[in-house]
C-alpha cells in the first residue's frame, strides 16, 4: 500500500504548528500516525500537507499536581499504560490505554491523536467522557478549554475548530473513595471496542455517593449513561443493585446505535448492560 504524495512540515512548537496549519489549507496533523498513516496508505485520506507535531516537547508527559492530572497530547498509550501515578490516581485511563491495539501501536499512538481522531470505536474518548476531562486547545484565537462531554460530536467529528490543536488533557485525580474501571468487548479482528464502558464510582460507607458511566463503541460518540448513574447513586453497592442499575443503560443509547457484520445494533443493545455491569463491578472491586 502506497500513500499519495503530500508535503511534510515538522513543527517545533504549538504556535509553529498553528502557523503551518493556517498556511496549508487542508493539511492534516500527524501525531503518532497510528490512525492517519493507515488512512493515507489506503488512500482514504489525501491531504496536500502533513504537519508533524509528534516532536513538540511541551506536548509530552503526565504530571499530577494539586489533585489534577495533566497529560500532554503527545503522550503515548504505552506511557499512559505504564504510568504508576495514573494507575494510582485514575486507573480507568491506564487500563483503557493498555488495551488499545497492541504493544507496538501503543508505543506510537498518542492520546491527543486518538482523541482528535474521534473514532467511535476508540477507547479513550469513552474514558474521558466518564472522567469529565477537560481538553485544552490552542488555535488562531488563542487557548480554550473544552469539556469532554461536548468535545465528541459524532463519527470522527469533534468540537475542535479549524486550525485548532489539542494540546493537553486535564483530569481530576480520584479523591478518596473514588475508583474506576473500563470494560471492553473487543472486535476479534480490529481489537477496537464493539462496546466500551468506563465507570467512575465514589463510595462512602458501602453506598454509592456518585457514579459516572460512559458508553462508547456502539454509538457515534460516547454517551453518559445517566439512567444508570441515577439508579446507582445512593444505593448499596451490591451485585444486585449494580445489575439493576446497569439494565437502565438501554434508556441512554438513543436511536443511533451502530451495527455491523460482526455485531448488529440489536445485539449491542441487548448486551450493553452486561458490559456496564462488568465495568461497574470492577470499579467497585477496586475501591479501597
Amino acid at each position: 500500500m502506497y500513500a499519495p504524495e503530500f508535503d511534510y512540515y515538522r513543527a517545533g512548537s504549538v504556535s509553529e504548528a498553528a502557523g503551518l496549519l493556517r498556511k496549508h489549507p487542508g493539511a492534516k496533523l500527524l501525531a503518532g500516525g497510528q490512525s492517519l498513516i493507515p488512512l493515507l496508505k489506503l488512500r482514504l485520506a489525501a491531504p496536500a500537507a502533513v504537519i508533524d507535531i509528534g516532536r513538540i516537547r511541551d506536548l509530552k508527559g503526565i504530571t499530577v499536581k494539586d489533585g489534577t492530572i495533566r497529560i500532554g497530547a503527545m503522550t503515548t498509550h504505552a506511557e499512559l499504560a505504564a504510568s504508576a501515578e495514573l494507575a494510582e490516581t485514575c486507573p480507568v485511563l491506564a487500563q483503557a490505554a493498555a488495551g488499545i491495539g497492541d504493544p507496538a501501536v501503543r508505543n506510537r499512538g498518542t492520546i491527543g491523536g486518538n482523541v482528535a481522531h474521534a473514532d467511535p470505536a476508540s477507547d479513550l474518548p469513552t474514558v474521558l467522557v466518564a472522567l469529565e476531562a477537560r481538553l485544552m486547545a490552542e488555535g488562531p484565537d488563542g487557548k480554550r478549554t473544552l469539556d469532554a462531554g461536548g468535545f465528541f460530536q459524532g463519527l470522527m467529528t469533534t468540537a475542535l475548530k479549524e486550525h485548532e490543536i489539542l494540546t493537553a488533557i486535564e483530569i481530576p485525580a480520584h479523591p478518596k473513595g473514588q475508583s474506576s474501571a473500563y470494560a471492553k468487548f473487543a472486535h476479534p479482528a480490529s481489537r477496537y471496542a464493539v462496546i466500551g464502558v468506563a465507570a467512575v464510582i465514589t463510595a462512602s460507607g458501602g453506598k454509592c455517593s456518585s457514579a459516572r458511566v460512559a458508553v462508547g463503541g456502539m454509538v457515534p460518540r460516547p454517551v453518559r449513561a445517566s439512567s444508570v448513574e441515577r439508579a446507582l447513586t445512593g444505593q448499596e453497592l451490591s451485585a444486585e443493585s449494580i445489575a439493576k442499575a446497569a439494565a437502565q443503560v438501554t434508556e441512554n443509547l438513543g436511536n443511533e446505535v451502530l451495527g455491523d457484520i460482526f455485531a448488529s445494533e440489536q445485539y449491542r443493545r441487548s448486551v450493553a448492560s452486561v458490559w456496564v455491569k462488568r465495568a461497574l463491578t470492577q470499579a467497585v472491586g477496586r475501591a479501597k
Binding site: A189, F262, A263
Partner: protein, 785 residues
C-alpha cells in the same frame, strides 16, 4: 554415526536463515533495471466494461507501460483448469488473465500499470478510468443455482459448473430400514487463507535467449512452470521457476494466477525485470478462498446407534472462475471420504459445483476432507443426542475395526491401515472423559457452561497414485522424484521436486537420508524450490511431501546403498553377497572391524581410481516414486469450550489431539504441524468467515474485519499420538500437514453445541460469533426454533 536420527526432534536446518532475516522470499529480490507492476481490480462483483481509458496513467510520472484486456489478447492464453473431474458434465468457462468485456468478481483484474517505483505505479492506477455497467451479482452457491439467478457465464445454465455423484451400497434400503433419520443443513462458510506472505512474482525475461526466470510464491514450482508455459507460450526448457522461500500457502499458493502471467507479459514486452507483489487487501480479493459449501445431509441409523447410511447434497461455490484444482476438492477429496472412519454400508452424495460472483475457490488446508469430517462428526453427535447416548460410545460402536493392510469402503477407496478406536480410547483416557463430563455437569449447576466436543477422522492424503490421478481427471501426475548425490568428501546433496514452505522437510528429509545411509544429518543438504536444479515434482499440498517425496528419497538412498555395497565388496576383495551393512559401514559378514565407510566409498566412486568392472563412476541415484495407494492418517480430538451465557462469547479452554501419521521422523515438527492445523480449524469454528453483501462486495476485506486467530485467544494444546505404519510405504509414514484442521473445526463446533445444549440449541452457523450464540440462546428460550 550410530545415533538414530529418525524419530528425533532435532532443531530445524532451515531456521538459522529465517531467524536472522537472511531468508529471501520473492519480494525480497531486486534485479538491475527492475520495474514494478500494480493491478487495477474490479470494484464490482459483476459488471460490463463499457469503456476503459488508460491514457492518463500511461502519461504519469515514472510510468513505463500500462495494459488492458485487449493488449493481452493473443499473447496470454486463458487460465487453464487442471482438474477436469470426469462424468460431471464439467463446464470450464473462459478465464482471461485480464477481463476485457465483463468482470465477474470484486478483484477481477482489468488493467496493469508498470512504473519505475511502486509508489508511481500506485499513483498512476488512480488515473485509469473505467466505465462499468453494473450487473446483478450472486454469491451464495445455492442461490446461484436457482432459476432466475444472475447468469455468470454464457452457456453455463443455472451457473452449474459440474454435477458429480458418488454412491456406494444400498442407500434407499438403508434409509428404509432405519429407526431414526437425522437431517441437518451444514454451511461450510467461505474462508480466506491469509498466508502471512502475500503473493509475489518477479519475472526476468532475456529477449536474446528467449529465456524466462520467474521468482514466484508457489507451493509447486514445477506445476507453475508447466502452467506458465501453457499460458505465456514460453517453452518449458527455457523457463525457470524459483520458489526457494515461500511464506505459507495452505492451498492458496497451489494454483496458477493471472497476475503471475501478466507480470511475464510485461517483462517480455518491456524486456526489463518486472515485479508484482500483492497488498493484503488484494490478497483478500484476488488470492483464492476455501470451503464455501452448503450441504443438506441425512443420516440413517438403528435405534441402538448403528449408522446405516449417509446421503448428502452439496452446493459448492467455485467463485467466478474455476481455479487450477478447484473441481477436484468438493468431489474427489470430499465425497469419496464420506464414510470416514466408520463402517457405513451406504453412501450417496450429489455435488453441484456452482459459479458465483465471489473470488475463485481453491484448496484450503484439508481441502474437502474437513468438510467430509464435519458432516460425519456433526451427524454422529446429533444421532447421539437424539438417542441420548454418549457421543464417544456412538463412535466406538461404528468404527471400522482395527486393520493393518487394507480396508475397502463403499466409495471404493481402500484405506491402508487404521486403529480408530485405539486413537479415541487413548484420547478419552488421557482427558479422563468420565470425570470431565461429571465436572461439566457440576459446573452447569453453578451457572458455568462448558461444552465438550469430540471429533474423529480419517483423511486421504499422500496424493497419490498417478493412474488414479488420471482416472479422476487430474491433469498431471502425482508421483515425486529425488536425486541423492554424494560428493567426494562424503557430503550429500538431495534434490527434490516437492517444495516445502514451512513444513520442515529440509530437516526431516535430511533425517531420512542420514538414517538410511549412515551419514551425519548435518552432512545432508536438501535442495528444493528451483526448477532448474531440482527434478520434476508435483508439489507440496495434500499432506503428500513426506508420504510421496519422502518415499522417492528413500528409494534413491537404497539404490545408493546397493551401489555402495558393490564398490565396498570390490575394495574389500569380497563377494557382494558376503557383504553386510550397519550404520554407514560396509563390511564382510562377521568382520565389522574391517569396514569401508560410506564416505570412503563416496570418495572412491567420485575419483573412480579403483572401481569394480562395469560399475559407473559417481555415487548418485535418482528415483521416481509413484505410490501404490494413498495414505490414510487418522485421529481423535477433543475440545472444551466455555460459553459466556450473558454475551454469547465462546472461548476454547482445553484442546487435546491424538493423531496417527505413522512413524514420526521428527516428533517436534509433527507437533508443530498439529498446533498450526488445529488453530486454523478453531479459526473456522469461531472467528473466520468471508462475508459479502448483496451486491457481491467483500465486507471482510482486511485483517481489521476478518478475524484470524491470535495468541491471546488460544489455550495450550495437548498433542498425543499413536503409531500405525502405512503398509505400502517404504518407511510407513503417512503425512500430518492437514490433520489438525480436518479434526478441529468439528471438535470445537460439537463442543459449542454441547455448551449451548442446556438452552435447547441444536444448530448454529459458523463462525460462532458471540451474537450468533446469544441469539441462538434467546431464540431457543423463546421456543421459536
Amino acid at each position: 554415526m550410530s545415533t538414530r536420527v529418525f524419530g528425533s526432534g532435532i532443531r530445524r536446518r532451515e531456521d538459522p536463515r529465517l531467524i536472522t532475516g537472511a531468508a529471501t522470499y520473492t519480494d525480497d529480490y531486486t534485479l538491475p533495471g527492475m520495474v514494478h507492476m500494480v493491478l487495477l481490480r474490479s470494484p464490482h462483483a459483476h459488471a460490463r466494461i463499457k469503456r476503459i481509458d488508460i491514457s492518463r496513467a500511461k502519461a504519469a510520472p515514472g510510468v513505463v507501460a500500462a495494459f488492458t484486456g485487449s493488449d493481452i489478447e493473443g499473447a496470454l492464453n486463458p487460465m487453464p483448469c487442471a482438474w477436469l473431474v470426469p462424468n460431471s458434465n464439467l463446464k470450464v468457462a473462459p478465464y482471461p488473465c485480464i477481463a476485457k468485456d465483463v468482470v465477474r468478481y470484486v478483484g477481477d483484474i482489468v488493467a496493469a500499470v508498470v512504473a519505475e517505483t511502486p509508489y508511481q505505479a500506485a499513483d498512476a492506477l488512480d488515473l485509469i478510468t473505467v466505465d462499468y455497467q453494473p450487473l446483478p451479482a450472486v454469491i451464495d452457491p445455492e442461490k446461484a443455482k436457482q432459476p432466475g439467478a444472475p447468469q455468470i457465464h454464457s452457456g453455463v445454465e443455472n451457473n452449474v459448473a459440474f454435477h458429480w455423484t458418488v454412491t456406494g451400497g444400498d442407500v434407499d434400503g438403508a434409509f428404509k430400514k432405519a429407526d431414526v433419520i437425522i437431517k441437518e443443513r451444514i454451511v461450510q462458510q467461505r474462508l480466506i487463507p491469509n498466508a502471512m506472505e502475500p503473493r509475489s512474482t518477479l519475472a526476468h525475461w532475456s529477449g536474446a535467449s528467449g529465456e524466462l526466470t520467474l521468482w514466484n510464491t508457489t507451493q509447486n514450482p514445477h506445476i507453475a512452470r508447466f502452467l506458465c508455459s501453457v499460458v505465456t507460450g514460453v517453452p518449458e526448457d527455457k523457463l525457470r521457476v524459483i520458489a526457494t522461500e515461500v511464506g505459507g500457502g495452505f492451498g492458496s499458493k497451489i494454483p496458477a494466477y493471472p497476475a503471475d502471467f501478466i507480470t511475464v507479459f510485461c517483462a517480455k514486452k518491456l524486456n526489463r525485470p518486472v515485479k508484482w507483489t500483492e497488498s493484503r487487501r488484494e490478497n483478500f480479493q484476488g488470492t483464492t478462498h476455501g470451503r464455501d459449501h452448503v450441504q443438506d445431509v441425512e443420516l440413517a441409523a438403528t435405534k441402538d446407534g448403528k449408522v446405516l447410511g449417509v446421503k448428502a447434497t452439496s452446493y459448492s461455490g467455485m467463485g467466478a472462475y474455476l481455479s487450477t484444482a478447484a473441481p477436484g476438492i468438493p468431489t474427489i477429496l470430499h465425497g469419496l471420504m464420506l464414510s470416514g472412519p466408520y463402517d457405513i454400508a451406504a453412501i450417496k452424495e450429489d455435488v453441484y459445483g456452482i459459479y458465483s460472483n465471489g473470488t475463485p475457490v481453491e484448496a484450503y488446508r484439508g481441502a474437502g476432507r474437513p468438510e467430509a469430517t464435519f458432516i460425519l462428526e456433526r451427524m454422529i453427535d446429533k444421532l447421539a443426542a437424539k438417542l441420548r447416548m454418549d457421543p464417544v460410545d456412538v463412535r466406538m460402536k461404528n468404527f471400522i475395526p482395527k486393520f493393518e493392510n487394507g480396508h475397502t469402503v463403499p466409495t471404493g477407496l481402500s484405506y491402508d491401515s487404521g486403529d480408530y478406536a485405539g486413537a479415541l480410547k487413548k484420547l478419552v483416557e488421557h482427558v479422563g472423559y468420565k470425570d470431565l463430563r461429571r465436572q461439566q455437569a457440576e459446573d452447569r449447576k453453578k451457572g458455568r457452561y462448558l461444552g465438550v466436543g469430540v471429533s474423529t477422522y480419517v483423511e486421504i492424503c499422500g496424493l497419490g497414485p498417478s493412474q488414479v490421478a488420471g482416472a479422476v481427471g487430474f491433469q498431471g501426475g502425482l508421483w515425486e522424484s529425488a536425486i541423492v548425490r554424494f560428493h567426494p568428501t562424503g557430503k550429500v546433496n538431495v534434490f527434490i521436486g516437492a517444495n516445502p514452505h514451512g513444513q520442515g522437510e529440509e530437516t526431516t528429509f535430511a533425517q531420512i537420508v542420514a538414517d538410511e545411509v549412515g551419514v551425519d544429518v548435518n552432512d545432508v543438504k536438501i535442495v528444493h524450490g528451483d526448477t532448474q536444479t531440482t527434478p520434476m515434482g508435483w508439489g507440496t499440498y495434500g499432506s503428500r511431501t513426506t508420504a510421496v517425496g519422502g518415499a522417492a528419497l528413500v528409494m534413491a538412498t537404497r539404490k545408493i546403498k546397493e551401489k555402495a555395497k558393490v564398490i565396498a565388496a570390490h575394495l574389500l576383495e569380497a563377494a557382494v553377497e558376503d557383504m553386510d551393512y550397519k550404520d554407514g559401514k560396509f563390511f564382510v559378514k562377521g568382520s565389522p572391524d574391517k569396514a569401508k565407510t560410506i564416505q570412503d566409498i563416496a570418495l572412491m566412486a567420485n575419483v573412480a581410481w579403483n572401481m569394480p568392472a562395469g560399475v559407473e563412476a559417481g555415487l548418485e541415484a535418482s528415483s521416481f516414486y509413484d505410490p501404490p495407494n494413498f495414505t490414510y492418517p487418522f485421529g481423535a480430538h477433543l475440545a472444551v469450550v466455555e460459553l459466556d451465557p450473558e454475551t454469547g462469547q465462546i472461548d476454547v479452554r482445553r484442546y487435546v489431539a491424538v493423531d496417527d501419521c505413522g512413524p514420526q521422523i521428527n516428533p517436534v515438527i509433527v507437533e508443530g504441524q498439529v498446533h498450526g492445523g488445529v488453530v486454523q480449524g478453531i479459526g473456522q469454528a469461531l472467528w473466520e468467515g468471508a462475508v459479502y453483501d448483496e451486491n457481491g462486495q467483500l465486507l471482510t476485506g482486511s485483517m481489521l474485519d476478518y478475524a484470524l486467530p491470535r495468541a491471546d485467544r488460544l489455550p495450550d494444546m495437548e498433542v498425543l499420538s499413536t503409531v500405525t505404519p502405512s503398509p505400502h510405504h517404504p518407511i510407513g509414514v503417512k503425512g500430518i500437514g492437514e490433520a489438525g484442521t480436518i479434526a478441529s473445526t468439528a471438535a470445537v463446533y460439537n463442543a459449542v453445541i454441547d455448551a449451548l445444549s442446556p438452552f435447547g440449541v441444536e444448530t448454529i452457523r459458523m463462525p460462532v460469533t458471540p451474537e450468533r450464540a446469544f441469539n441462538a440462546i434467546q431464540e431457543a428460550k423463546a421456543g421459536r426454533r
